[in-house]
Amino acid sequence: MEDLILKIEKLHKSFGEKVILNDLNINITRNTSQVIIGGSGTGKSVLIKCILGLIQQDQGVISYDNTPLNSDTRKEINFYDKIGMLFQGAALFDSLTVWENITFAIKSKSKSDLKEIAIDKIHKVGLDSSVINLYPSELSGGMQKRVALARAIAKDPQLLFFDEPTTGLDPIMADVINNLINEVIDKIGATAITITHDMESAKKIADKISMLYKGNIIWSGKPGEIERSDNPYVDQFIHGRSEGPIKINIKD
């Protein structure tokens, strides 16, 4: 029997009449790297935001370690102390320095201890400790992503979320971020959930890939299996063809 850290059952979310997640089911096994792929507007970000409690689902159950999550249980089990999140645009706090950003969620420590933790984490993401006193606006996009990654792993979380980790980066920096993600997952022994439409990134960091289409998981498998998939939707998506069963509504 699989050791599940996260179980999502019949998750449903609509905005007005537009259905985003349609009775979605997915299980996340502990200590694996799960990548969810899918085109823009298929509900990837909404799925992560529902898990994190940033958006309230209409129906369905999200369980973390067999505890159904809601605003009360998230507080009871200190859910946010057990997770780390890398946002698409880094989402660093502009008014705080790099070290203050990294150690933001760590309470009851002296300033010198916090700086030491920040230096340790900044080394883990391959940056020099000289950046810790800079502000986010003084960093390049790639450096901001790395600092955001350092912030996500600052509390050695059990569950890591990555929202489009390579978007907006050049191919070399994207590869650097992918390697870093693999390294930090190995080092802290966390479970990772990544949403992306970057297939190179997906293949590089995933133990398991699932494809989301029209609010539901339509295919799941190992990275090596995706190329051999006979699912026409998967085939069209991973080869980036405009012709196929996935129709793009220009208005969208």
């Binding site: 994190l52 946010y80 102390d81 989402a91």
Partner: protein
């Protein structure tokens, strides 16, 4: 024609529902704010930063506005008073006008333009760039971290700013009165001190605290509920300034009625 007739109550209904929804949202935001103010933790560092930003940095603009308002008030009262030989009331009216009304209202409106807009734009930008979501994932309540320090700072610093504005405004009247209108300095000061009572100043300070709350609350509320990217940031800023200004003027009437009728 029938359609047109039915459209009117429909439009009224839709707008009433929208208004009620807005009142509900503001009430929930207010409740969450009050809850966070009276429960730990309070972010003191952030509070002191906001005291500097909202209070200290607003001092030049409020001081200048108060000085010129006091000056122009002296001029207008002199011109008006000379029609029925009442020029001597200039110092008294300037002192009462500034401490009771113009000091708090002008300072409140200046703060609405300067601070409400800046708070709203800052929080709305944080929302657009997912920084509010990031706060939640870092075990931090955004209302506690962002809204409470700003509201408390505005609530506590605006009365101090108004006290300073009162002094500068009366000085503006004094400068114009003595240098341009020919009043004797000692007489002007004596008339000013004779007329001002503690209640005049205190009522202005109470108003200032309420206006400070309104300014920060409206800035935070509209920034926090901003939608629609960069355009949304602009819209929320405009809404914050307009709603804060209107609420300041409306609450000024209510407070004046309450304080001086009682």
């Amino acid at each position: 024609m029938l359609n047109y007739i039915f459209n009117i109550p429909h439009a009224i209904g839709v707008n009433v529902l929208k208004l009620l929804a807005q009142v509900g949202k503001i009430s929930i935001f207010f409740y969450e704010l009050i809850f966070c103010i009276f429960t730990p933790p309070i972010y003191f560092k952030s509070f002191f930063n906001q005291v500097i930003k909202i209070g200290y940095n607003s001092l030049p603009v409020i001081g200048l506005t108060a000085f010129f308002t006091g000056g122009v008030l002296a001029l207008q009262i002199y011109i008006g008073g000379s029609r029925f030989n009442a020029e001597s009331i200039v110092a008294s009216i300037v002192a009462l006008g500034i401490t009771r009304e113009l000091g708090p209202v002008i300072a409140g409106l200046m703060l609405a333009g300067r601070v409400s807009a800046s708070i709203s734009a800052e929080i709305a930008t944080m929302k657009v760039t997912e920084q509010l979501d990031a706060l939640i994932t870092l075990s931090t309540n955004p209302i506690r971290y962002l809204v409470v320090p700003r509201v408390l700072a505005a609530l506590l610093t605006l009365p101090i700013l108004v006290l300073i504005a009162d002094v500068i405004g009366v000085m503006g009247g004094f400068v114009v009165g003595t240098q341009s209108l020919g009043f004797i300095e000692q007489t002007y000061i004596k008339n000013t001190l004779d007329i001002i009572q503690l209640n005049d100043v205190l009522s202005g300070l109470i108003k200032a605290a309420v206006f400070g709350f309104i300014v920060a609350f409206m800035g935070c509320y509209h920034g926090y509920n901003s939608t629609g990217g960069a355009q949304g940031v602009g819209r929320s800023t405009t809404k914050a300034v307009v709603s804060a200004s209107i609420l300041i003027l409306a609450s000024n009437y209510i407070l004046t009625s309450l304080v001086f009728n009682s």
